[in-house]
Assembly symmetry: C2
Homo-oligomer: 332 residues x 2
């Protein structure tokens, strides 16, 4: 019950290994008749290419890597991971979870040294430029998920935050909201500065009275406290735009504890949709980002980069605003 190799096929077909290799890889060098015959024999024998042998010979590993840098309590990474992975599809994705940046870089170095992956996807909240710099020094091709764009050699694949911010603020402004605060947290697959800019630009265009951004810590507990402080200040916002679904739930909790009705006194929008948004009451209005598409794009851009093509930054399709029960007209 040994697995067949191209040598077996060659012997069976009465040709050489080389011919079989060319035939099965669909490249020129064999006649159409021979190719068909070889293909047929390969199918009959149940042949499948040995990825290890191919990798050794071709110098490519045939896999890409993704390291999740996960300080223990950063929330909200997970729901997106599966969407992303679903988008990547059947490409071989080597995954590793590490506690900090050093371990992340060590993982890249190890993968590079052992030739386990051909390239990596850069993910997670707040990937600073130095991470990209170190990565190019290591010599691993990479694609940055969620930006930042404009980095030479490391194409970014991201979701259009400007469009999302425009949609959300436009919707809120139409409901009469004039004071909107953004709660910034550890958003995944999104570049924090890009969101900040998008928010500021959209607010400016709409002429909102207040459009601040409040940063919460990265810990799980920091969210509710920071939000509560925002809500009890003089002239509090009438709407909150939260970077993650978990922060939005925290906003719901904080509002209830401050005696504010949602959406009567306060509207809440999550800048990330998830099953959790549908589950809570009131259900959260949310921006649905095309994460599966993002994953697919990232994989194909990386593939093009590996093939030697000059891959550039690419933006996924426009995110959609899903309105549910957590948003309503501003109290006059």
């Amino acid at each position: 019950m040994k697995r067949p190799t191209i040598t077996d096929i060659a012997r069976e077909a009465g040709v050489s290994k080389g011919a079989v290799s060319y035939a099965l890889n669909g490249r020129p060098g064999v006649s159409e008749a021979t190719r068909r015959r070889i293909t047929e024999i390969a199918r009959d024998l149940g042949w499948a290419p040995s990825s290890t042998a191919r990798a050794l010979s071709g110098g490519r590993a045939g896999a890409i890597g993704l390291v999740l840098d996960r300080p223990p309590d950063v929330l909200g990474v997970e729901p997106f991971l599966t969407a992303l992975l679903a988008g990547i599809g059947p490409a071989s994705l080597l995954l590793q979870v590490v506690p900090d940046l050093d371990a992340e870089l060590a993982a890249y170095r190890r993968w590079r040294g052992e030739r386990k992956v051909d390239g990596v996807l850069l993910a997670g909240p707040g990937h600073a430029g130095d991470r990209i710099g170190e990565l190019t020094r290591i010599g691993l091709p990479a694609v940055a998920l969620g930006g930042p764009p404009g980095h030479p050699g490391v194409p970014a694949v991201w979701v259009d935050d400007a469009a999302a911010a425009g949609d959300v603020l436009g919707y809120l402004a139409a409901l009469g909201h004039r004071r909107v605060v953004r709660i910034a947290g550890p958003a995944v697959f999104a570049h924090p500065r890009s969101r900040a800019e998008a928010f500021a630009v959209a607010a400016d265009r709409l002429g909102l009275a207040v459009a601040r951004t409040v940063h919460t810590g990265h810990s799980g507990e920091a969210g509710p406290g920071a939000i509560q402080r925002v809500l009890v200040q003089p002239r509090p916002p009438t709407a909150l735009l939260c970077d993650t679904d978990v922060l939005a739930v925290a906003a719901l909790v904080a509002a209830r504890e401050a005696g504010l009705a949602v959406p009567g006194d306060l509207s809440v929008v999550s800048w990330d949709d998830s099953p959790l948004c549908r589950l809570v009451r009131p259900a959260l209005s949310a921006v649905r980002r095309p994460l599966a598409e993002l994953g697919g794009l990232a994989a194909s851009v990386l593939a093009e980069l590996l093939a030697g093509g000059q891959a550039g930054d690419v933006c996924a399709s426009r995110p959609a605003l899903v309105t549910r029960g957590s948003t309503g007209p501003a109290r006059p």
Copy 2:
């Protein structure tokens, strides 16, 4: 800037490739002095073993696989995934997300055919026995995460549900609860039947008046509705034990809509801890399963299985009950 190979090291050290191989793999055949010299040169040259070459030669891929069978709306898989991965550590883990069982089996077959992985971790809610059967037919060594135990050739690694059920029900009984309903959902890395039995046995031992299990659908929306029906029946339960954190949040929502106070009228326990449990109000009492440990155990059991050892079922350390605000004395 070519990467060094053992041939380079051999030339540098004035020995043969074979000696270098033995020296660097710590196996007998070279003297201690030579070994040290070779090791030093390898370090100076920045040598790292090529996993592909090693895989080709050794017949081993050096990676294990995990397929997530994810019908679009099954909730609650994600938070555990990262914990599990963190536990697996630096072992190479090939991950793929597929839409259904057929695709899952196809992925196994492909991995097997291309020799991409040496074995797989079986995960996800409700892995039926036929999945295991098909897997052994494919010929891929596997370890079942969360059970079921007692399957020849496919060792199970699981968390002690019986202990958890005993702890939770003992705690609730001590608070005066006599009617407890378990809300069963798509729990991950847990065998559903094992939980059902554990729950029944523990309830029986404590002599509880009511200890039913109510099954919700696998969809995200089915949870709240089913829970609501449980709460409005005559002689409703005074405590709910929910299989997942998301179901527990759904219980909180349902209780509020039914006008029940938590924990005044109803206690809620989540049979899975997560950051979400800490975030909501009241914070959810929960069973904390040692998932990182589970991941580590699974990886080591699989490694032993691959090494030819006769690996048996193994149970992770006892889960801990974390009490928070969602549980209190039963209303008399």
